[in-house]
């Protein structure tokens, strides 16, 4: 749970046209124009009975003049909270990105939260910043044993194809090293293993046992360096 705020914010930056509803119908929204409002970004749990509740469990009053746009459970919003009335005066659905003045919902100061005295939790301070979800290139390299048959290619099998043994033919870099690159979304979890093109030639561990598929979480410029200990069909 340590990385929860980062995880939550990772989803906040996905592309999409942010829709904005404001209590002042004629004014164009500019969340940073006035210090009279507080800009908060978070996931919506529920909007009921004049409250917007974030998934942190914190409820904030909604200005009665504000027309609330349709919002799906869990969607990210940027809300402007009036510092005087402590009410939400603007809601932007799926904001493009975080701005420097934005506050994560988890760190919302308690004075803006509506809660009965027994339900008030302590304020959260600090914590990591979020990251963009974006395409990344992951490079997987593997070193094969010396007794690998010299004419054979090495393949990558992933859980994307239920480990089809010839899913991706790797490129030979030197006598023992093979490599391939995959384009994935950052954060994608992948499991993979190595074969020589069919299941009879799958990798085994040093003592001939089954190799658990290797896990990988896609990130910027991630490079993995693996080694095949033994092939199932080679003594």
């Amino acid at each position: 749970m340590k990385n929860l705020p980062a995880l939550l914010l990772a989803f906040a930056f996905l592309a999409g046209s942010g829709r904005v509803a404001t209590a002042e119908s004629s004014a164009s929204p500019d969340p940073f124009a006035t210090p009279a409002t507080l800009s908060v970004v978070g996931q919506v749990l529920v909007i009921e009975r004049g409250y917007l509740v974030f998934t942190t469990g914190d409820a904030v009053k909604i200005d009665p003049a504000l027309t609330v746009p349709p919002i799906r459970l869990g969607q990210y919003v940027r809300v402007l909270i009036d510092r005087t009335s402590h009410a939400i005066t603007s809601i932007e659905v799926e904001p493009h990105s975080l701005a420097s003045g934005d506050i994560e919902a988890a760190k919302l100061r308690r004075e803006f939260v509506s809660a009965s005295p027994l339900s008030r939790r302590e304020e959260v301070v600090g914590g990591p910043l979020g990251q963009l979800v974006h395409p990344v290139t992951v490079t997987i390299s593997v070193k094969v044993p010396d007794n690998t048959p010299s004419g054979d290619d090495v393949y990558l099998a992933t859980d994307r194809t239920s480990f089809s043994p010839a899913e991706i033919r790797m490129t030979r870099v030197d006598v023992r090293t093979w490599t391939t690159s995959l384009q994935l979304s950052s954060g994608t979890q992948l499991r993979y293993e190595f074969t020589r093109g069919n299941f009879a030639t799958i990798e085994r561990d040093k003592r001939g046992g089954i190799v658990d598929p290797r896990p990988l979480t896609a990130a910027d410029n991630l490079q993995t360096h693996d080694a095949v200990a033994h092939w199932a069909d080679v003594n």
Partner: protein, 539 residues
């Protein structure tokens, strides 16, 4: 240990097992979700989420939850319901704006928005024992999936906790992208390793899980391979953690084959495996293999038996592991003893053989101009009890150079000699060609060099692989050039003197990657170009 001691131990073990069962029993056997729309999202942190929106009704054991939206974390077994939530648990009824439930512990957090927003902790939905207190920060949290595309879509999902979820009906993604409607789909999220397969390799394979438990999975496969074209396959996996598995498969339409693969790790280092296939198309082919292998820290011993149609063989092979003599070289030695029954087309029915194999290879050495070099020599000699001996020696030099992040070269030179010696005129007795007599090549002409042939084939290979991978990315252009200089090397038989392959890998979309290769053989059998295509599709 006394009989009484054993009985006590057994009783203790039974109690422990009962304890385990009791702990597991807290989870309902099934959780049923219905909604206007349900999406299944595998998430980056390894969990999977069911997102249900619109008139959601969840049934889990005695509990029924109605809400506008529900998010169910399939791996954590937690769910969050929000919007006009109504929970019915026997005679207990709760109303709330939001409700977070841990199915493992039956603990729930309730958010009410009556006069002032309040959070309550309840157990087993008993309001009488509810405690108003701050909810943990993570109680109502879940990943945002509103902007992503679900992996599967449905209106009805039945979850078997910790094992799988069946979606009925379902819209299923295909590897290349579009969703396909289907009456039902089983998504397995059990930690079991179902990666084992018995199906032959294919350039495209889209699995469609049919039935499953924590240890088994039956699946259909939509497949494409260049030999059989589009076809269907089915397989059944039985898995015992990471120690054993059995996989059976069938390709019933094209390339008709039944396959079996089974493997068991008896103790660490000792494994046994059995595998085989039966091709039943235009003609029948049968193959079966059994192997038992013991791997110690320094050696490996394999006892195996094979049957291919009516031929049989048994082998015992003792081998060292790869030994690295730092920093000079790596070596390995291997000796085997075997028996063959009906070995090929030879006019005798049985033979015994002893074979010896070894190799020595150098580590990668850095040469001038950024070139890496490595050399390897391997040699095999097999002696049969019939006066017959084969030897095979191969020397390989590999040079590689990475110019920059995008461009790299790999060159190989390989010399190989395969000798087939028959002593005491055994070759003539077997009806094999006499090297002293002219030999006719495929085009009907006398092959001139055959007079010099003394039973030794020589193979020489020179290859250069050029890879251009812009900025080290996924798209790539690869050119392979080969020159084979063999003896004997007939026109139209053996390896072509020159051979080139161009291979293009291009990502066409977020779920489609295409690899297209075209090969040419030059000056071979009177043909200038022998084009061959190969296509590979992957996510």
């Amino acid at each position: 240990m006394s009989t009484r001691g054993i009985a006590s131990a057994a009783l203790a073990a039974a109690l422990v097992c009962l304890g385990c069962s009791a702990a597991r029993a807290a989870l309902p056997q099934r959780v049923d979700l219905r909604a206007d729309q349900i999406g299944l999202y595998p998430l980056a942190d390894g969990t999977a989420l069911l997102a249900a929106d619109g008139h959601v009704v969840v049934r889990a054991g005695n509990r029924t939850i109605a809400a506008n939206g529900v998010r169910f974390n399939l791996k954590a077994n937690t769910l969050v319901a929000a919007g006009d939530v109504r929970v019915t648990n026997g005679k207990r009824v709760l109303g709330a704006a939001a409700y977070a439930l841990d199915l493992k512990t039956e603990n729930a957090h309730l958010l009410t928005l009556d006069e002032l927003p309040a959070t309550l902790t309840v157990r087993d939905d008993d309001l009488a024992s509810a405690v108003e207190e701050p909810a943990p920060l993570a109680a109502f949290t879940f990943a945002d999936v509103s902007t992503g595309k679900p992996f599967l879509r449905t209106r009805h999902a039945v979850v078997t906790p910790n094992i799988n979820v069946r979606l009925t009906p379902a819209e299923v993604p295909t590897g290349p992208g579009p969703y396909v409607p289907t009456p039902s789909y089983l998504y397995t999220f059990a930690p079991t390793n179902f990666s084992q397969s018995a199906l032959p390799a294919a350039t495209f394979d889209q699995p469609y899980p049919l039935f499953g438990t924590a240890n088994s999975l039956a699946a259909g496969h939509f497949r494409f391979d260049s030999q059989n074209g589009p076809t269907l396959g089915f397989d059944e996996h039985l898995v015992d953690s990471n120690r054993a598995y059995a996989v059976a498969s069938i390709l019933p339409l094209r390339g008709k084959t039944v396959d079996l693969n089974a493997f068991q790790q008896l103790v660490p280092g000792l494994t046994q495996s059995i595998g085989g296939f039966h091709e039943y198309g235009a003609y029948n082919v049968n193959f079966a293999n059994y192997a038992m292998q013991w791997t110690s820290p320094s050696s490996r011993t394999t006892l195996s038996a094979d049957q291919f149609n009516n031929s049989n063989s048994v082998s015992l092979v003792l081998s060292t592991l790869d030994h690295f003599v730092a920093p000079l070289f790596t070596y390995k030695l291997q000796v085997g003893y075997g028996y063959d029954h009906l070995p090929g087309q030879l006019p005798f029915t049985n033979d015994f053989r002893i074979s010896t194999y070894g190799y020595v290879s150098s580590p990668n050495a850095r040469l001038p101009f950024g070139v890496d070099a490595s050399a390897k020599y391997e040699y095999t000699i097999t002696e049969y009890d019939f006066p017959h001996e084969t030897t095979n020696g191969a020397a390989t030099l590999t040079l590689s150079r990475r110019v920059n992040r995008s461009l790299s070269f790999l060159g190989q030179i390989q010399f190989q000699q395969f000798a087939n010696h028959y002593r005491d005129n055994a070759a003539l007795y077997l009806g094999l060609p006499n090297p002293a007599l002219p030999y006719y090549a495929a085009d009907g002409t006398i092959y001139p060099g055959y007079f010099a042939y003394a039973g030794i084939n020589t193979y020489r290979m020179y290859s250069l692989q050029t890879t251009w991978r812009p900025r080290g990315g996924e798209n790539a252009l690869q050119l392979y050039l080969y020159h084979y200089d063999d003896f004997p090397q007939f026109h139209g038989l053996g390896r072509p003197p020159y051979y080139a392959t161009l291979d293009v890998t291009q990502r066409l979309g977020s779920t489609l990657r295409l690899e297209l290769a075209r090969s040419y053989a030059f000056g071979w059998g009177g043909t200038h170009f022998v084009p061959q295509y190969s296509v590979s599709i992957s996510p």
